[in-house]
């Protein structure tokens, strides 16, 4: 479980996060929505302490990560996290296989001989079986996102943080990524935190959604609760995004997950 309490982060005198409070339960898919620049990515980076907030607490399974400054200790906390960066952030100088196994050396005690098997297993999960010896520069945007997702889950983390997982992708690839996130949570029982401004994505796969506005959580709840919400800020942001095709897609996924 992750609890965020009174979190404040200031950039150049501007409060990006202002006394923000929210809890994320284990095993759920939790989406944070909000307009660009509202502090969604900052929130994710604070959770894994890539950024140190000015004040507040972030309790990861009861341990406050804000108080930890030692890189060794932080590395231990980060072992529980996988992170899908907006642009993938694959290492250009390494092949897809090397990218996926990169974290295993630092995050796990798995013997080196096991690395290729794990990498192939994760690549199969994201549908990139034939890309293991390719450099990231030769991959398309969607393939990069999928390879990055394979890297994020390679060490089998408890939590995965997704930073705008569908931004810049065509609708078909977006749909594929969306399916992968959903499958990953269902199969591996991972807690997923997604920050996105893609309302359809959030309403399609999330168990709970929170909207970040002016540094604080304007509203949070299940997709159904949010649909019934009368918050003017939320209404303005979502507007016509909640169309009927989302309901259809959500139903498909629910049917699929019952099979697991």
């Amino acid at each position: 479980m992750i609890e965020i309490k009174n979190l404040t982060k200031i950039y150049s005198g501007r409060k990006v996060l202002d006394d923000a409070c929210i809890s994320i339960n284990s095993g759920e898919i939790f989406s944070v929505i909000g307009p660009s620049g509202c502090g969604k990515s900052t929130l994710l980076k604070c959770i894994v302490r890539l950024i140190k907030p000015e004040s507040g607490r972030i309790l990861v399974d009861g341990k406050n990560v804000v108080d930890i400054d030692d890189e060794f200790e932080l590395a231990k906390i980060r072992k529980d996290f996988g992170y899908l960066f907006q642009g993938g952030a694959l290492f250009d100088s390494l092949t897809v296989m090397e990218n996926i196994t990169f974290g295993l050396k630092y995050l796990t005690d798995i013997p080196k001989s096991e690395y290729p098997r794990i990498a192939r297993e994760k690549l199969a999960l994201v549908g990139l079986e034939k890309a293991e010896n390719i450099k990231p520069a030769e991959l398309s945007g969607g393939m990069k996102k999928r390879a990055a997702l394979a890297r994020a889950i390679a060490a089998e983390p408890k939590y995965i943080l997704y930073d705008e997982p569908t931004t810049g992708l065509d609708p078909i690839t977006s749909d594929m990524i969306l399916g992968l996130i959903s499958d990953m949570a269902a199969k591996l029982k991972i807690t997923s935190i997604i920050v996105t401004h893609d309302i359809k994505l959030a309403f399609t796969i999330s168990n709970r959604i929170a909207m970040l506005d002016k540094g604080n959580f304007e509203i949070s709840g299940t997709p159904e609760e949010l649909r019934r919400s009368s918050s003017p800020v939320f209404k303005k942001f979502t507007d016509d995004a909640l169309s009927s095709d989302v309901q259809g897609r959500r139903h498909d996924l629910e049917v699929k997950h019952k099979q697991y």
Partner: protein, 263 residues
């Protein structure tokens, strides 16, 4: 008017102090992680090979022609002054070993490899690859900085020794072919006057140059601004700063080495 000038100077001093502080913290982190984690041997070898391969041909060309031009100038000058080409080997060897080979090699590496280190780390920063290192259980100091520091500290001194030999050989060709100085005279001029401490004078400096170049290159990469423009700007600043600092550092280290008897 005076107010604006003093404000400008004050701001620059503050900025300089901040940069010095950031560099100190980077070096502190480097020392801490050098003892805390096992070295990335594969990366050290990869970076050393890269620096060597990238810089070897340019180093050879630069030092070879520098040796040749030194011999040419010395030959004509001594012929003009004494009516015969005297001490060409001595002058070529002393100039190269003590000053020109270390300085020119460092400048070549700063321009060739320092720039690419800044561009590489800068690109990694703007594409969140540096953040990815943290989330994958390591950090830029351990994975990027330590191997590059090790590689620079190994290769620049080695390249300099190579440059010493190539330059002296270039000088030999000119003195022998152009001024008909017998090879025994050329080599005798060198070995009669040159001592190990003369060689060490130049060799010791290369470690300081290597440390400075890699510090500037890594720092500029890690602190570069967002976007392609930020990376380009950081790369240019890295090369210019390194080259200027090689010259400045050269004087002060030479003075210090002379003071301790390493003439």
């Amino acid at each position: 008017m005076r107010h604006y000038i003093s404000e400008g100077v004050g701001r620059r001093m503050m900025s300089l102090a901040q940069k010095m502080g950031a560099v100190s913290l980077m070096i502190k982190s480097l020392i801490v992680w050098s003892f805390r984690a096992k070295p990335e041997t594969r990366e050290i070898v990869k970076q050393s090979v890269r620096i060597g391969v990238d810089s070897l041909s340019v180093t050879i060309l630069t030092s070879f022609f520098t040796g040749m031009v030194l011999a040419l100038q010395m030959g004509y000058t001594s012929k003009y002054l004494f009516n015969e080409p005297l001490y060409i080997g001595t002058m070529v060897a002393f100039s190269l070993v003590k000053e020109l080979a270390p300085v020119l090699t460092s400048i070549v590496v700063a321009g060739r490899v320092g720039a690419s280190v800044t561009a590489e780390i800068g690109t990694m920063k703007v594409t969140e690859q540096i953040d990815a290192l943290y989330t994958l259980g390591t950090n830029p100091t351990r994975y990027l900085l330590i191997p590059r520091y090790a590689a620079f500290l190994i290769t620049i001194p080695l390249l300099t020794v190579f440059a010493d030999f190539m330059g002296i050989f270039g000088g030999f060709l000119v003195s022998n072919i152009k001024f008909s100085v017998p090879s025994s005279v050329y080599w005798n001029d060198i070995f009669t006057f040159m001592e190990i401490k003369n060689f060490m004078h130049g060799f010791v400096k290369t470690f300081a140059f290597a440390f400075m170049i890699v510090t500037v290159s890594c720092y500029k990469g890690l602190t570069c601004e967002e976007g392609a423009e930020g990376v380009g700007k950081a790369t240019t600043e890295s090369v210019v700063t390194s080259m200027v600092l090689v010259m400045v550092l050269d004087y002060f280290i030479s003075a210090a080495l002379v003071a301790v008897g390493l003439i």
